[in-house]
């Protein structure tokens, strides 16, 4: 049973439509990622759920009750801001305790809880530090602890890793996921980074130009992208809409529409494969594999291979028909 229902959420800013009737569900103790390019409306949707913006149309239901007239400070939703928004005049302890103080808890109880939270985010011993002295990763943990402190019913994270450097991201992304799972509350995460969304979320909603294109588990999304936009956004770039190759694929597979050739489609010659003449453009070494760009019948395709092909050479490449999918438009 879904805990949060967003129904038909629409929002326009100065005539520019940011969200077109969004429907979204978040289940109990589920992490949902809103994935999309910048300007796709994902942050606006998050802010509407938080109560920081009012939608032009649509309802937010939480545990069955309508949130329309409930202001942000009474929703009991936590929000972690992109650049953390730590209060510069308060130290780490005071920042985390901010929401607890508002609940009029006793000082002892607050201290105990702040200490437990600091432990949870691996910042034990940082309580009395000024937030201005912290590194990016430390600030992020404080922000997470602060948004968890008042026991929110839902946690929202706006680009939680965007302000960090590459090396920290993978590590902290998993750590945040583990902490949220430990606390056991539902969470919504906004990101423009596909790998971040796949690593951290249970389900991913792909947004583009104010619409949800597909919402599924990362594995299902990757295996069966609903359309070309989703496919290219999650890094499956070999989308064939028209041209000589398209005609050939239609003829050989007996299917029509838009074709997606998965990057692992290239294989050895064999029975059910479609073999075509190709010219090798370049090989990029990616550590675990080579990313090889080839030209087949005027279309550029990228394949993932174990070993490089001689650049500039002409050869025959066979495609596994099972790894050629057709997409909706």
């Amino acid at each position: 049973m879904a805990l949060l229902h967003a129904r038909g959420i629409s929002k326009a800013f100065d005539g520019h439509v940011a969200l077109h009737g969004i429907d979204l569900n978040v289940d109990e103790s589920e992490i949902l990622a809103l994935l999309g390019p910048s300007g796709c409306g994902k942050t606006t949707l998050l802010r509407i759920i938080a109560g920081l913006e009012t939608p032009d149309a649509g309802d937010i239901l939480f545990a069955g009750s309508d949130m329309k007239r409930v202001p942000a400070h009474r929703r009991h939703f936590g929000l972690m801001f992109q650049d953390y928004a730590l209060f510069p005049h308060l130290n780490v302890r005071e920042n985390i305790a901010y929401g607890l103080t508002l609940q009029r808890l006793g000082k002892k109880e607050i201290d105990k809880r702040v200490d437990a939270l600091l432990e949870l985010v691996n910042l034990a011993g940082f309580a009395e530090r000024a937030v201005t002295e912290l590194s990016g990763g430390e600030r992020q943990r404080v922000a997470l602890a602060r948004s968890l402190a008042p026991s929110p019913r839902l946690l929202m994270l706006d680009e939680p890793l965007a302000a960090l450097d590459r090396a920290l991201r993978d590590h902290l992304g998993l750590e945040i996921r583990n902490i949220i799972k430990k606390v056991g509350i539902p969470a919504i995460l906004v990101t423009h980074d596909q790998s971040e969304a796949f690593a951290m979320a249970d389900r991913v909603a792909v947004l583009d130009r104010g619409r949800i294109l597909q919402c599924d588990t990362p594995a299902a999304l990757y295996a069966r992208p609903a359309n070309a936009a989703v496919a290219s956004f999650i890094g499956l770039g070999n989308v064939i809409r028209e041209g000589e190759l398209h005609a050939k694929l239609c003829a050989r597979t007996g299917r029509s529409g838009i074709f997606l050739i998965r990057p692992d489609a290239a294989c050895a010659e064999g029975g059910k494969n479609i073999c075509l003449d190709a010219r090798v453009c370049e090989n990029v070494f990616r550590g675990q594999h080579y990313q090889t760009r080839v030209e087949i019948l005027g279309a550029e395709l990228v394949f993932r291979l174990d070993s490089p092909l001689p650049a500039g050479s002409r050869l025959t490449i066979c495609l596994d028909e099972a790894k050629i999918q057709t997409l909706g438009s």
Binding site: A50, V70, L79
Partner: protein
């Protein structure tokens, strides 16, 4: 996991308000302005215009040759003062904008001190320079400066005006110049322009909005200069402000004073309108580049010129203040502390003459009361202006008007408007701090507003998602982050109140004078004891204001360190 995350949540309220009603905060400010700015000025207007319709004969003096001459003199002394100030400040603006040197911040602090000094203190200081019997005055007369002659008063007035406004012009032009990219003049030079041509054809046109804004502001301040002209101009030189005061307080021709006030208001409001246009153009961001070169690395001739300029400016600015302090220690041309002992005495035992220390006590109390009024008013006004609503944008320039309105006209308006119900305050002591708060609160507004804009909106939103209601957000986020700016505004208010003279001289009761009033009385009375009291109390007031100013500067530095 030991976290009680299953906390029960209370019933959800139906109140969807997320922001404190910021727009309504203008209400107390508007009421205050209506009662103590608009209403008094309205009374002045209706008195002047009413009389013109009823009985023109009381306004007959206007047609004599005297008043046109006063208006003309008021205008051109302000023009000359502005030109002199700009000429003195322009080289300094360049040096400050482009160069770094040892003691730069000390220099900046030093040149700004005059701006916060009370007019009576500056006037008293310049009087000592014009007196050949004083230490520095004899030096000045040897050099042929301020020598006794027909024009002595004029020279003193102009010098005092430049002294006051120098830092204002320096700051406005200097900060603008610092944002002009050096590549602009450099590319003119590369195209074959001489340094002078590059300055004339590129730098000067680019600087013109800042020069115009600074020049007009100096003009407005000099046009409504009161204490300086009253104390230094003698009977030969008189401005509109001084005439308004004489007609209202000495001759009791109130309608004539009202008509003069109207002329005064029209000129300053008009100039203010034009000034704010130029000021707006100055705040447009140019280039964020700051290209500051250490002065030691400049070429020889410009370096020596800059050094010479900085030394000369420092000496000229220190001279009158030093002279005043020296004279306070030399009553009757002999070194002693007698003048300071005299601060506690009332030599003639008159009820209207209090010991300067008592006047000092009054001043401090008034300043405290004025600060307590100006700070909340300024905070409310700043929060309102920060909404940037249409109403806020319309009212913003109007909220600044009291700062540049003639103080004498305000004081005059207070005594004719607030002497009957519903606002029967004529004999109440609160009238003085109210007038001071009126002049001071725009300063609070202007110091708080940038700090308010520097608070990121996400901080308020974060507090809100953590459960803070609108007022709680304001109290726990906005207020603490504004505390330094508020303190800054409070110090400004305090200093402004300490030195306010033009309005105070109308409305303070004679037996509870402020320190500037006591200094003025002592200066206008004959006798060496009065003179010594004036010197000592002016020095005391100078030190007090300078100390407040130094605190202000420290507080300012720490504030910019934070954001």
């Amino acid at each position: 996991m030991d976290l009680p995350l299953d906390a029960t949540h209370g019933e959800l309220s139906m109140n969807a308000a997320r922001n404190i009603p910021r727009t309504w905060l203008v209400l107390p400010v508007a009421l205050f302005l209506a009662a103590f700015y608009v209403y008094p000025l309205w009374e002045v207007l209706s008195l002047g215009l009413g009389q013109a319709v009823k009985d023109v004969s009381t306004l007959a003096p206007l047609l004599s040759s005297y008043y046109p001459r006063v208006v003309f003199f008021t205008f051109w002394q302000a023009v000359i003062s502005s030109i002199l100030t700009l000429g003195a400040a322009l080289p300094g603006a360049y040096v400050l904008a482009r160069h770094d040197f040892a003691g730069k911040s000390l220099f900046e602090t030093l040149v700004t001190i005059p701006f916060v000094l009370p007019t009576v203190v500056v006037a008293a200081a310049f009087r000592t320079l014009a007196d050949p019997d004083t230490l520095l005055g004899s030096l000045a007369s040897h050099l042929g400066i301020f020598t006794d002659g027909e024009q002595q008063g004029l020279y003193l007035i102009l010098a005092a005006h430049v002294f006051f406004n120098f830092s204002l012009a320096l700051r406005i032009i200097g900060s603008f110049w610092a944002r002009l990219h050096p590549a602009m003049t450099e590319s003119a030079r590369m195209a074959g322009a001489t340094p002078w041509q590059a300055f004339r054809t590129v730098t000067l046109p680019l600087l013109s909005p800042a020069i115009a804004a600074a020049g007009l502001l100096v003009f407005i301040f000099c046009f409504s200069s009161f204490g300086v002209v009253l104390l230094l101009g003698g009977y030969r030189y008189s401005t509109l402000e001084v005439e308004i005061y004489r007609q209202a307080a000495h001759v009791f021709n109130l309608p004539l004073a009202a008509v003069l006030s109207i002329i005064q208001l029209l000129v300053t409001w008009g100039a203010m309108r034009v000034q704010s246009r130029f000021q707006e153009r100055c705040t447009r961001p140019l280039s964020p580049v700051t290209n500051i070169v250490p002065l030691t690395r400049a070429a020889r001739t410009p370096r020596l010129l800059a050094r010479g300029y900085l030394t000369a400016v420092s000496l000229v600015l220190v001279a009158p203040l030093l002279s005043l302090a020296l004279e306070s220690l030399r009553p009757d041309q002999a070194w002693s502390l007698a003048a300071y002992a005299g601060l506690f005495e009332n030599p003639r035992g008159s009820v209207f003459h209090v010991p300067p220390m008592a006047a000092m006590g009054n001043s401090l109390l008034y300043a405290l009361a004025a600060t307590l009024m100006a700070v909340p008013l300024g905070l409310c006004a700043a929060t309102f202006v920060h909404t940037r609503s249409r109403l806020a944008r319309i009212l913003d320039p109007l909220l600044m008007l009291p700062m540049t309105t003639s103080a004498v006209t305000l004081g005059f308006g207070f005594i004719i408007a607030l002497d009957q119900p519903p606002l029967h305050l004529r004999s109440s002591w609160v009238l003085v701090p109210i007038a001071h708060a009126l002049v001071a609160f725009p300063f609070v507004l202007r110091t708080v507003l940038p700090a308010l804009s520097a608070v990121p909106a996400e901080l308020r939103e974060a507090a809100s998602t953590l459960g803070a209601g609108p007022w709680k957000v304001w109290a726990s986020i906005d207020l603490p982050l504004l505390s330094r700016a508020t303190l800054l505004g409070a110090l400004y208010s305090f200093v402004i109140s300490l030195g306010e003279f033009g309005a105070t001289i109308f409305i303070a009761r004679p037996h509870t004078p402020t320190l500037p009033m006591a200094i003025y009385r002592n200066l206008s009375l004959p006798g060496s004891q009065n003179h010594a009291q004036a010197m000592a109390s002016a020095t005391l007031l100078m030190v007090l204001c300078a100390l407040c100013f130094l605190m202000l500067e420290r507080c300012k530095k720490r504030m910019w360190g934070d954001f």
